[in-house]
């Protein structure tokens, strides 16, 4: 058990005009750990994810990332090219809407291969081989490799996005409602897939979800947000089975079988 965090944020605050979207938020994430961020719509989950991943600058506070050599980087003080490199290599981002991440006019194989090429891979045969391997891992028939994403179902698009994200073996993946737009039967399959891939590859994940069942299934620890503040945090099963804060009790009591 290493004591060094992969990602740490302290005192993050951000307002949209008069609206406080983040208030004094602290986050720690260790290698290989799955952290769920839950809370009602508008509580600041996506804002937090965007600030943690350097896509949105906070009004106050800081985010540090520890690279594989152990060096700390202040994410919001990094030069833009360095941050872009980080997003292409060590990090991944899985959006609720896969179309935000995928190139819809490029084949499925191209979508997966592109991330590898962005990292400097040049050998066509090997790129295609890895693309086939990853399509198979996310349970997309390798025969679809030359098809365009627009011919894919919602669940397939989401799996393609996951293949595209994981092909570079990121150490840290940010996920915003990865199963939110899918129907329930497809969700279960995707959750199982995320669970096994992330465990096997030892990837750390910050997972935003409004679905307590998803958090229970996937996360080691959980953060509960309300109106931009962290109202409760801890071991997932403890927070869900013995919630202390009134808002967490409300959240847990309003789902059937969490």
């Amino acid at each position: 058990m290493t004591d060094e965090t992969l990602l740490s944020a302290r005192k993050l605050s951000l307002s949209y005009g008069m609206l406080p979207a983040l208030v004094d938020v602290d986050v720690d994430l260790w290698p290989g750990e799955m952290l769920a961020v839950v809370g009602e719509s508008g509580s600041g989950k996506t804002t937090l994810l965007n600030v943690l991943s350097g896509r949105l600058a906070p009004d106050a506070g800081a985010v540090w990332y520890r690279d594989p050599d152990g060096h700390l980087h202040d994410v919001h003080a990094m030069p833009a090219p360095a941050l872009r490199t980080l997003h292409r290599s060590d990090w991944g981002f899985v959006h609720q809407d896969p179309r935000q991440n995928l190139r819809m006019n490029v084949t499925a194989g191209g979508n997966v291969g592109e991330r590898l090429m962005a990292q400097g891979a040049r050998h066509y045969g090997s790129i295609r081989e890895q693309a086939i391997d990853w399509l198979t891992q996310v349970e997309i028939d390798a025969g679809r490799i030359d098809d365009m994403p627009r011919t894919f179902s919602g669940g397939m698009l989401q799996r393609l996005q996951i293949a595209r994200t994981l092909v570079t073996h990121p150490r840290l993946v940010f996920m915003d409602e990865p199963t939110g737009s899918l129907d329930v039967s497809v969700q279960a399959r995707l959750l199982d897939l995320i669970r096994s891939l992330v465990t096997r590859l030892n990837i750390a994940v910050v997972l935003v979800t409004h679905d307590i069942g998803v958090a229970r299934l996937l996360a080691h620890r959980i953060i509960v947000m309300q109106r931009g503040r962290v109202v409760e945090t801890g071991l997932t099963d403890q927070v869900l089975d013995d919630p202390q804060h009134p808002y967490t009790q409300l959240l847990v009591s309003s789902v059937l079988h969490a």
């Binding site: 058990m1 399959r189 199982d192 801890g234 403890q238 013995d242 202390q244 009134p246 009790q249 009591s253």
Partner: protein, 233 residues
């Protein structure tokens, strides 16, 4: 002399129900319990007295309100009442096993992998982990044809036996069992009793809740009686 594996001192637990106007329900108070290796303590007391609450607190599933829960982990006593989440997970991984009353099923994961997850999580190869899991499932009379299926559609008794296999496969030095035989027939009860007694012989320290007098007599070294707080006060 066998050593203390788990010790609680002055453990207290109450629930505050914020949705019911903040009413406070005191459940546990001044719980002092010593559990030695190779020993099985059965929690007793009327329904609603707090047996499951105590067990869940020992597992870190419920948050202890005050007092200490010391557990021997990697040769040192760790206080689960104050440990951070990652320490609690490490203790559960290596030292502290728990068989809940009901299996919480994960969609799409076959029974054999539900059980094999524990050894693979500790670095065993998938083949090796599946082999041990299969043996344990067979011992608990789960027919081979079910091993490849997710337990969601299993009967209550089958699910409980998968849960037991998952709980026993890790050979944790301390094991918590909440009603391990509640929905089992006589034959399977006998299997579970012998598994518990074999674990004790290996030095496993066990805390169990079981209403069945026959099972209790077969496994308990002593009872730990919980009394309703109002009466005790």
């Amino acid at each position: 002399m066998s050593q203390v594996m788990l010790r609680t001192t002055a453990l207290a637990k109450s629930f505050t129900l914020h949705l019911q106007g903040g009413v406070r329900i005191p459940v546990l108070s001044a719980i002092g319990l010593d559990l030695h290796s190779g020993e099985c303590i059965v929690l007793s007391g009327p329904s609603g007295v707090g047996k499951s609450t105590l067990m869940r607190s020992l597992y870190g599933n419920y948050r202890a309100e005050s007092g200490h829960i010391l557990i021997r982990h990697r040769g040192e006593m760790v206080d689960l009442a104050t440990a951070d989440p990652r320490t609690i997970l490490a203790v559960r991984h290596e030292t502290l096993g728990y068989v809940s009353q009901f299996l919480r099923v994960v969609p799409r994961v076959p029974a054999v992998d539900v059980v094999a997850e524990v050894p693979t999580g500790r670095g065993a190869s998938q083949d090796e982990a599946r082999r041990i899991a299969t043996d344990l499932l067979l011992r608990l009379n789960i027919p081979r044809r079910l091993h490849g299926l997710p337990p969601a559609t299993f009967s209550g008794g089958e699910q409980q036996r998968v849960n037991l296999a998952r709980g026993f496969i890790g050979n944790h030095p301390v094991l918590l069992l909440d009603e391990p035989t509640a929905s089992l027939d006589a034959e399977n009860r006998a299997v579970v009793i012998s598994m518990i007694n074999e674990a004790k012989a290996r030095g496993t320290a066990i805390i169990a809740i079981c209403h069945d007098a026959e099972v209790r007599d077969a496994i308990a070294d002593r009872l730990f009686a919980l009394t309703p707080l109002q009466d005790a006060a």
